[in-house]
């Protein structure tokens, strides 16, 4: 099967600290792949390398077979590598409607359009509306993002990424900090992602990981430790030892 995402010998060093240590990860097209590991294992660093926030010390990143190691963040988004953030990174002064409109405009290459009014493209409005509806944001679409409830902000965090129409979606702890009763909205929206979108999920919550992932990679001290099917990873005694040991419910 074709590979959506591949890293080859990825290293990242901060001074004397090796945050990413020779990571060679492959993610198949359309996969639901989870990346887990104890705190400080370098999961978010890896996402930052993949999305272009950080430049690797050495190694290469391939997106659908093309080397994107040297590309800027926005160029990677243009090629379909889109991420969400563990801590909400939203535009406080814009409404969800405007935020999504902006994301769609940028994707269509209308971002430089300083003459056309934001609301004058019918196809754009249809797409924004459909995302608003899917992520239960229609009722708050005209509120300033800064004053939205946390759960709604969390939904918007993912909705913005979807509006970029990703080929590969990097989800960094999508349910982090969401209260139990609002969790299902987030999980349902992730489960409903189109099958052709490849998803790499970072998550601490093992219930989410095992209900969602078809394949799991375990990262320990910046290096890939184990990779395999969820059942195999769950049974692996080494994984239990370093990470799942005290998680009795797995």
């Amino acid at each position: 099967m074709a590979l959506a995402l591949e890293t080859a010998g990825l290293f990242k060093q901060f001074g004397g600290l090796t945050a990413t240590n020779d990571v060679s990860l492959t993610v198949e097209a359309g996969a639901r792949h989870a990346l887990i590991g104890p705190n400080g294992a370098g999961k978010t660093t890896l996402i930052n390398l993949l999305s272009g926030v950080l430049k690797p010390t050495s190694g290469r990143i391939l997106l659908e077979g093309t080397d994107i190691t040297g590309l800027s963040q926005h160029a990677r988004v243009g090629r379909g590598m889109v991420r969400t953030f563990q801590i909400n990174q939203l535009f406080g002064d814009l409404t969800p409607l405007e935020t999504l409109g902006l994301a769609v405009s940028e994707r269509n290459g209308h971002g430089m359009d300083w003459w056309r009014i934001a609301g004058s493209r019918q196809d754009l409005i249809e797409e924004i509306s459909s995302v608003l509806e899917r992520f239960h944001l229609a009722d708050v679409m005209n509120e300033r993002t800064a004053i939205l409830p946390y759960g709604k902000q969390r939904l918007l965090e993912i909705a913005v990424a979807i509006a970029c129409r990703p080929r590969v979606l990097l989800l960094d702890e999508p349910a982090a900090g969401v209260p139990e009763d609002e969790r299902h909205e987030i999980l349902a929206s992730i489960a409903a992602l189109p099958q052709d979108v490849t998803v790499l999920l970072i998550e601490h919550d093992m219930d989410i990981v095992f209900s969602f992932a078809q394949r799991i990679s375990v990262l320990v001290n910046g290096a890939l430790f184990v990779e395999g099917l969820p059942d195999d990873v769950a049974k692996d005694p080494r994984v239990k030892a370093v990470y799942l040991g005290e998680e009795a419910h797995v």
């Binding site: 999305s51 272009g52 926030v53 800027s72 963040q73 926005h74 988004v77 243009g78 889109v82 991420r83 953030f85 990174q89 939203l90 535009f91 406080g92 002064d93 814009l94 409404t95 409607l97 405007e98 935020t99 409109g101 902006l102 994301a103 405009s105 940028e106 994707r107 209308h110 971002g111 430089m112 359009d113 300083w114 003459w115 056309r116 009014i117 934001a118 609301g119 004058s120 019918q122 409005i125 249809e126 924004i128 509306s129 459909s130 608003l132 509806e133 229609a138 679409m141 005209n142 913005v160 990424a161 509006a163 970029c164």
Partner: protein, 345 residues
């Protein structure tokens, strides 16, 4: 799949941004009405017009893109000297064309220096922009053979606007000219602010990290808006030079940049009218107070600023929040929209 009422509401909300608010219409009617209402005050109104344009230019980078600058006079000065030199050496005699060229000259300087302000935090940007303005001022001082040095550029003779409207000594035509230029450039800025480009600037100001993560080329956008703002500032400077037929080193001065920031803060940032309202208040206060206390009028400007900050606390511009509330209530169309939305449900 999408419910039609949601589509309608989304279209409505997105296009509501650009609809003209009744207060805006009143604002411009009054502004143009000044041509007949206050014919004896056209000289100070001219100053208000170019200062408003200058402040609008600063609002584009401070209020929209979040780039704070203490050296915006750099571009104002380039525009002023360019316009004065073009007229003096009879390179371009027609003022409107010269105005455009002067603005473009400032834009080039803005483009080149924009790469310096891209990097770093607010403090770095303050220092870099301040440094650029200081350097340009000293360059103008050094090249006295061209700029007239400390004496200023004298002997500028302005030709009639469009070959027809003479700059008269009472400043009537000068004011009309400045007002029209201000209005046209304001329309451009208004369009820009409500476009995807304008939204992307606000996004960059709010969160540059996420802006890049949704595909916005952050650095390029900042270079673009900085250059555009420099064009606006250059045109403002050129208007000063053309209406006074004079340019001096003081166009580059630190005071001018600092006053400009004051003007914008008095009026409020990020809604385009802040610069214009600020310019009106600032000039009127300056005019009124300098008659009362010719030497000490800045004291009262300072006192006002302190009072505004105390009222506003976290947001300096909060002092005019009650005004904005009234504006919202006055917007009868907003009420109608709300009623229409209620019907949909």
């Amino acid at each position: 799949m999408v419910t039609p009422s949601l589509l309608r509401r989304a279209t409505e909300s997105l296009s509501a941004r650009v609809r003209w608010h009744p207060l805006e219409i009143i604002f411009w009617l009054v502004a143009f009405g000044m041509i007949w209402l206050m014919p004896t005050r056209h000289l100070i109104l001219t100053e208000i017009a170019w200062l408003g344009l200058f402040a609008l230019s600063l609002d584009l980078i401070v209020g929209y893109a979040g780039i704070i600058s203490l050296g915006h006079a750099a571009f104002f000065g380039v525009g002023a000297y360019a316009a004065a030199l073009l007229a003096k050496h009879e390179l371009i005699n027609e003022p409107v064309l010269a105005l455009l060229v002067a603005g473009l000259a400032a834009m080039v300087v803005g483009f080149v220096t924009s790469f310096l302000v891209l990097r770093g935090s607010d403090l770095t940007r303050l220092m870099v922009s301040l440094g650029v303005a200081l350097m340009l001022r000293e360059l103008a001082n050094q090249f006295g053979w061209l700029t007239g040095g400390a004496d200023g550029l004298q002997g500028v003779v302005m030709q009639p606007i469009l070959g027809y409207f003479r700059f008269d000594m009472f400043g009537h035509n000068g004011f009309i000219y400045c007002l029209i230029v201000l209005f046209v450039l304001f329309l451009g800025a208004r369009r820009l602010a409500n476009s995807p480009f304008g939204l992307s600037l606000v996004a960059i100001k709010n969160n540059p990290l996420r802006a890049a993560a949704i595909g916005i080329p952050v650095d390029r956008r900042l270079v673009e808006i900085y250059s555009i703002a420099a064009f606006y500032a250059g045109v403002a400077g050129a208007l000063l030079a053309q209406t006074t037929a004079f340019a001096s080193l003081d166009v580059f001065s630190f005071d001018r940049s600092a006053d400009l920031l004051l003007v914008l803060i008095i009026g409020g940032t990020g809604y385009l009218y802040g610069g214009l309202i600020g310019a009106i208040l600032f000039k009127l206060m300056q005019d009124y107070l300098s008659v009362l206390t010719p030497q000490y009028w800045p004291f009262w400007i300072g006192a006002l600023l302190v009072a505004m900050v105390l009222i506003g606390r976290d947001r300096i511009t909060a002092w005019n929040a009650p005004l904005r509330d009234i504006a919202a209530k006055l917007d009868w169309r907003a009420g109608r929209r709300a009623a229409a939305a209620a019907e949909d449900r």
